[in-house]
Symmetry: C2
């Protein structure tokens, strides 16, 4: 077993900070492991002592962006907004946070979806859920009771889909992704209203159980 010394965490943090700075200035392809090491005043091998791969660094970067999405979107979700408004705000803020890093899209997908969901991923998911719970509970009028419970999960799933779409959206300024959000928000809100009807409710139940088999 390897015990992390104080100097250890410091070095790791240094590497990570350097990497994030380079990511922001040079982009994904432009940020080489050698550059991260050199810019930190360390050797290449040393970087690999703390990070198994470049993707692992990207993963930490991505986690930071998710965190940033959460903290910037949260205060926008003020009580009294319609559900549609809150959904649109949360989704658009997500795109806004990701916007400067579109080049990272496929890498983000790789790290966010691929990884044999470890414990960390569970914590992460719980955090993301929190935002969508907030979207729901701050909405007025509140969504029908029958669906209120499950709505955060559905919204989270929709966000994942939009995230995927964005990652491979090659339109100018990810315009198509924005259009998608713009149109999806009112549609989802309408769907929620309709969920009072038994037929619609059974469909939603089907979708939910489908999600659960897949998760």
């Amino acid at each position: 077993m390897s015990k992390q010394t104080a100097k250890g965490v410091e070095t790791r943090q240094l590497l990570l900070n350097t990497a994030l700075r380079l990511f922001a200035t040079k982009g994904f392809a432009g940020t080489t492991m050698r550059a991260i090491a050199k810019e930190s005043g360390l050797s290449l091998g040393n970087a690999y002592y703390y990070f198994e791969s470049k993707d692992e660094i990207v993963h930490e970067f991505y986690r930071g962006l998710v965190e940033q999405h959460r903290t910037t979107a949260w205060p926008m979700l003020v009580e009294g907004n319609t559900l549609e408004t809150n959904i649109r705000l949360a989704l658009e803020q997500g795109l806004a946070v990701l916007a400067p890093f579109h080049e990272f899209g496929p890498a983000f997908i790789r790290t966010a979806f691929s990884g044999s969901h470890g414990e960390l991923s569970d914590v992460q998911r719980a955090l993301e859920f929190g935002l969508w719970r907030q979207v729901v509970t701050m909405s007025r009028p509140l969504p029908p009771l029958a669906i209120r419970q499950d709505l955060p999960q559905l919204l989270w799933l929709i966000q994942r889909g939009i995230f995927l779409f964005w990652a491979y959206d090659s339109s100018e300024k990810a315009m198509r992704s924005h259009r998608l959000v713009k149109n999806a928000a009112p549609m989802i809100a309408r769907l929620v209203v309709l969920s009072r009807m038994p037929v619609v409710r059974t469909i939603i139940d089907d979708v939910l159980s489908l999600i659960r088999t897949a998760t």
Copy 2:
């Protein structure tokens, strides 16, 4: 401008055949550009004369698999099957064809979704649509007229989603993807029946127009 000579197409074909053979035996990571060249009795640079990148070769490989999906699934769609059966058959056959190449998942996604689609991709999409049209027209009873027209497109979209899911499905033997298909087929069939109801129909219309803004 470069004109392709007879020897040219021959060499290209040789490289491609070698690549496909190696892909099938050594996998994605195990098949190196050097190996493809050497096994073809050619130089590395020569391979790059005919293929811009390794991904481009993978893309051709993927197109072949899609073709194989089409030709193997088609005869299974016999008249008289229920819609659910046909959907399940087509989806499962898709997974079956892809199964030996799960390692290629992310690479397939990259080539299938990413690339600023040229004309070729349109042809490809039309072909894929054909299968789903067959799924619909061979079903008994035929789906409600109101939705019959749009159903192929919806099914195609669902298949893309399942394809994505499969690509990042790290469960044993892609078990979760199979479970997803198993549960999705009857659900979709139920949804189609319900589409006779105006409420459901409006939802489907919403989804369709959403797709169209995104495509």
